[in-house]
Symmetry: C2
């Protein structure tokens, strides 16, 4: 592969976008069109950025990992497309979700197509032993992701499932993939075992910080900022971390209020308002924010000893502070 | 890996079943339970058998390809689970489909989980260069499969799409994977380029024979024999090869009859009866059966020069003759 390793504005985002296009195609078929629509305009491209920055942190180059990084993004977006079917979510990144726009069956197939485009990209380039090792850890993380998504459907409406359960689901559903995005980037760049294990733990803690913040967004940001409906989790009766922290700390009246909402039937706007009131009274929003900061701190601690990890440290900090 | 290379009854089926269990798990979670339910009792295990027999045909052993073969079966079954969502098909292999039994969202996640279990199995074992080459051709075939499945949704109700279109869809949806099942088995067993290319073409022709027969089954077999509803394609207004062959050969009255049925609204039982009548009058069933035989013959011709391909030749013959 012969691509420039940095782009004009000093970030690698345009390189990733070009690489995504290379793997998903030009959009002349319904399948390619639906895949492109799900990928573009892209989101934060957090996972490919983590992959590339991890390669650089161990002395490697972006072009050693570019295809793999784009592959991880395809697999991530594939999971979002399927997630929006599972959650019956009509909005993603401020636009109609793939299922809403193309239909359920078409979105299902597009997710599968994106997933396989991602696998093809991941397997395409680099020394065989490294590619295989990086692909194995990534596929293992994707299996964890499926487990987390399935567990999430099982705890719907269950306020008694407990904080450790939702933390485990976050680990499976989000942190496993951000962890291997970092680990795979390091492996492909020729990192030592200790280096790629540290970067994996860094990525997992960053992923936890990111997801804890994500669950706070419906209560701290406006719809138009996050690009998703603030009431989606509530409409699905999905108990998230702040809600479970609140439930643990609530008095009987507030517990009853939450229980009523999570029994279903309350209209989403009222439900959202009632939950927000309990979250505020129990200080659950601040508790969750502190947990995110603590994960970010643990992530940064894993970077000790890596030659060039300034950007990774910044990414961990911003994951815990993000407002979108 | 240390497994016996043949089982007591001389087939490798029990080995594949054990290997599937090893990769999908014990069933203690909802995800594993749904995956196991989709895999067991297994179908014909055609793809893993093709993979193992292809390895043997070039002088290799079953244990060189067993994990890969099980992986291909997981990926195939994952596609069936998703296909039954796309087609809203309540029956698979004579039992409730995964979507019917577990719910749509759960079946979607189970399909994704099976798909990643399959990738993990495929990448797990063997010399890195061979594993990577085998995985690349397989992933490429799976991308073709997604393309074929999407194209299939696009031609619903369209009797004018033409025989070449449905043959292309068959190539993408079925023959690509049976082709690489053979090619990957050969690659993993250390075949020459010419050998694994020939086996790929063999597997593709066998897949075409198999799928042409599959499309005939609703008109030649009873529900209880095939384990699927005879009226599924009709209910989805899916024009299949025999229907398009009939449409090409039909007089005006029969074309009008088919057109009426494919406009939708006819009850499935009447529709099925009307189509069968036209298929019989136009000799389309026999034409399609001859096409299947011709593909099987081309498949067998690819086996010339391979040291041990008797079983593969038999498999090609039975693909074109199958009644279930």
């Amino acid at each position: 592969m012969s691509v420039a390793v940095t782009s004009a504005d000093g970030t690698h985002i345009p390189l990733v976008e070009a690489e995504l296009l290379r793997w998903v195609g030009s959009g002349d078929s319904l399948l390619e069109g639906a895949c492109l629509d799900a990928l573009f305009p892209p989101g934060k491209l957090l996972r490919p950025v983590l992959c590339m920055e991890s390669a650089k942190a161990v002395g490697g180059t972006v072009d050693q990992v570019l295809a793999f990084a784009a592959g991880i993004e395809c697999l991530h977006v594939a999971s979002l497309v399927h997630d929006d079917i599972v959650d019956q979510d009509p909005v993603r990144r401020g636009r109609a979700s793939t299922a809403e726009q193309y239909g359920l069956a078409e979105a299902l197939i597009a997710g599968d197509g994106l997933s396989m485009a991602g696998m093809a990209a991941m397997l395409s380039d680099g020394p065989a032993e490294r590619v295989l090792q990086a692909a194995r850890v990534t596929v293992d993380a994707l299996r964890h992701m499926c487990r987390g998504i399935m567990r999430e459907t099982e705890i719907r409406g269950d306020l008694t499932c407990g904080v450790p359960t939702v933390l485990n689901i976050m680990r499976d559903k989000t942190a496993a993939l951000t962890g291997v995005a970092c680990q795979a980037g390091a492996i492909l760049a020729g990192a030592t075992h200790e280096q790629h294990q540290a970067l994996r733990r860094y990525g997992e803690q960053l992923g936890m910080a990111f997801q804890i913040r994500d669950d706070l967004l419906p209560y701290t940001a406006e719809d138009q900022v996050t690009g998703k409906t603030a009431t989606s989790d509530v409409a699905n009766l999905q108990p998230t971390l702040p809600v479970l922290l609140a439930y643990d700390a609530a008095d009987e009246a507030d517990r009853n209020l939450l229980t009523t909402v999570f029994r279903g039937g309350t209209d989403p706007v009222t439900a959202h308002r009632d939950i927000l009131a309990v979250l505020t009274r129990t200080d659950a929003l601040n508790k969750a924010a502190r947990m995110a900061s603590s994960c970010a701190e643990q992530a940064r601690a894993e970077l000790t000893g890596l030659p060039d990890s300034t950007r990774l440290a910044e990414l961990a900090t911003s994951a815990a502070d993000r407002q979108r």
